[in-house]
C-alpha cells in the first residue's frame, strides 16, 4: 500500500506536535522512523492508522482517503499494547476470528507464528500473566498474522531479548522480501534500523528532518 502524506498537522491545544509538509511511503517497502522522544513518531503512526484525527492535512492510501475497506488492511501495534483478557492463543487468533477463518486454518496459522517467535509453550497461558517481552511478542504476532497491507509498528522490539530480536527481524524481513505489504516501524535502535530498513525517516520536533537510504541518514 502506498501512503502519501500532504500538509499534515496535529495540534494539542497550543502546541503543534506534528507538522509534515509532504512524505511518501512506497508500496511494499520497509521504513524506519526514528527521532528523539516526543518528536511525534507515535502520533504520526496513530494518525496513519486512523486512530487519531489530524488537525489539518490529508493522507492518501493508494490514492484514496481512509475508508472502511482500507482500514481492514491496516494494523497498528502500539507502544503500550493491550492484550485481551484471554489466552495467548486466543489473542493471536483474534484477527483471524474476526475474519471468520476456518477453525482448522486458524489453528495452523497461530501455531506456525507461535513457533516462529518461540511462544508455543505459552499457548494456553493467560495474556495478563505474561512477562513484558512475552507480551510484546504476542502483540506483534497478533499484528503480523493476518498479513496486513500496511503494518505500523511502534517500537516492536523495545522489551525483547537479543535472541528473540533476531527471530522477529527475520519475520519482518521475510514479509518485506515477499512483498506482502508496506511496513513502517518506529525504533530507537539505530543498529536495527540499519539492519532492516529500505529507507529511514528522521523526525524531530514534529518535523521531517531527513528521509533517505539508511546509510545517509544514520550518520
Amino acid at each position: 500500500m502506498e501512503i502519501n502524506i500532504n500538509g499534515l498537522m496535529k495540534d494539542y491545544g497550543e502546541r503543534t506536535v506534528l507538522n509534515i509538509e509532504s512524505l511518501l511511503f512506497e508500496s511494499n517497502k520497509l521504513y524506519g522512523i526514528i527521532g528523539p522522544n516526543g518528536a511525534g513518531k507515535s502520533t504520526l503512526l496513530r494518525i496513519i492508522s486512523g486512530l487519531e484525527q489530524s488537525t489539518k492535512g490529508e493522507i492518501l492510501y493508494n490514492g484514496c482517503v481512509l475508508n472502511k475497506p482500507i482500514l481492514k488492511h491496516i494494523t497498528f501495534m502500539s507502544q503500550r499494547h493491550y492484550l485481551l483478557k484471554t489466552t495467548v492463543f486466543n489473542n493471536i487468533a483474534y484477527p483471524l476470528t474476526l475474519r471468520k477463518y476456518h477453525k482448522k486454518i486458524i489453528e495452523n496459522m497461530v501455531d506456525e507464528i507461535m513457533m516462529d517467535l518461540q511462544l508455543f509453550e505459552l499457548k494456553d497461558q493467560l495474556a495478563i500473566s505474561l512477562s513484558g517481552g512475552e507480551a510484546q511478542k504476542v502483540a506483534l504476532a497478533r499484528a503480523l498474522i493476518f498479513e496486513p497491507q500496511l503494518l505500523l509498528l511502534d517500537e516492536p522490539t523495545a522489551n525483547i531479548d537479543p535472541n528473540s530480536i533476531k527471530l522477529i527481524e527475520k519475520l519482518i524481513l521475510k514479509r518485506n522480501k515477499e512483498k506482502k505489504g508496506t511496513t513502517l516501524m518506529i525504533t530507537h535502535n539505530m543498529e536495527q534500523a540499519r539492519r532492516l530498513c529500505d529507507e529511514v525517516v528522521f523526525i524531530e520536533n514534529g518535523k521531517l528532518k531527513v528521509q533517505g537510504k539508511e546509510k545517509q541518514v544514520l550518520v
Partner: protein, 229 residues
Amino acid sequence: MGYIMEGVKEAFNLLLSLDREIYSIILLSIFVSFTSTIISAVIGTPIGLFLALKKFKLKKMVTRLLYTFMSLPPVVVGLFVAIIISRRGPLGHLGLLFTPSAMIIAQTLLITPIIMGITFNNAKEQGQEIRQICMTLGGNRWDTLILLIKEMRISILIAIVTGFGRAISEVGAVMLVGGNILGHTRVMTTFIAMNNSMGNYSMSIAMGTVLLVISFIVNSILYKYVVGD
C-alpha cells in the same frame, strides 16, 4: 429486638412451610426482577458503551442527564407508567395495569439508567483502548461491541448486579403499577410493606431475610458464571 430474632426464625418457617402463597410471591418477585434486569441489560449495556466511546456534541449534557436518571424515584416512575397504561392513558387498551407486565415495564425504566450509567462510567476509563484494538485488527462495530462486553465483563457484571439489586428491592414502583394483588401481583417487597402497615413486623423481617438470601444466591451464581471462580 425480639422481632428480629423472631423474624429470622419465621423466615425458616416460611420457607419450610411450603405455603403455596408464599412461594408464588417469591417466584413472582424473581421472575419480574429477572426479566426487567435482562431487558435493561440488553438495552443499557450497548447504549452505555456507545455513549462512552462516541464523541458527539452535548456529550457532557447527556452524561449528566444519564447520572440524573440513575436517581429516578420509584414512586415517580411507577406513577408515570401507571398513567400511561391506565384505562384512560394512551396504552390503556392493552389492559396492563395491575399485571406483572406492568411491574416489569416500571422496573425496566427504573434500572436501565443504572446499568447504562455504571457501564458508561467504566467504559470511559477502559473502553477506548479496547475499541482501538478491535479497530486496528479489522473489527467492525458489531465486533467492537462484542469485544467490549467480553473484556469489560466484570464491570458489566457489577452494573447488572446493582440493577438487579435495585429491581428486587424496590417497592414504590411495583406497588403502584402492580397493586399488590394477592395471588396476582404481590411480590416480596409489597408483601413486606403490607405487613409493615399491618404491624406484622416479624413477618416482614422474615420475608426480608428470604429476599436477602435470594439476592445472595443470584449474586453468587452470576459472579461464578462471569468471573469464573
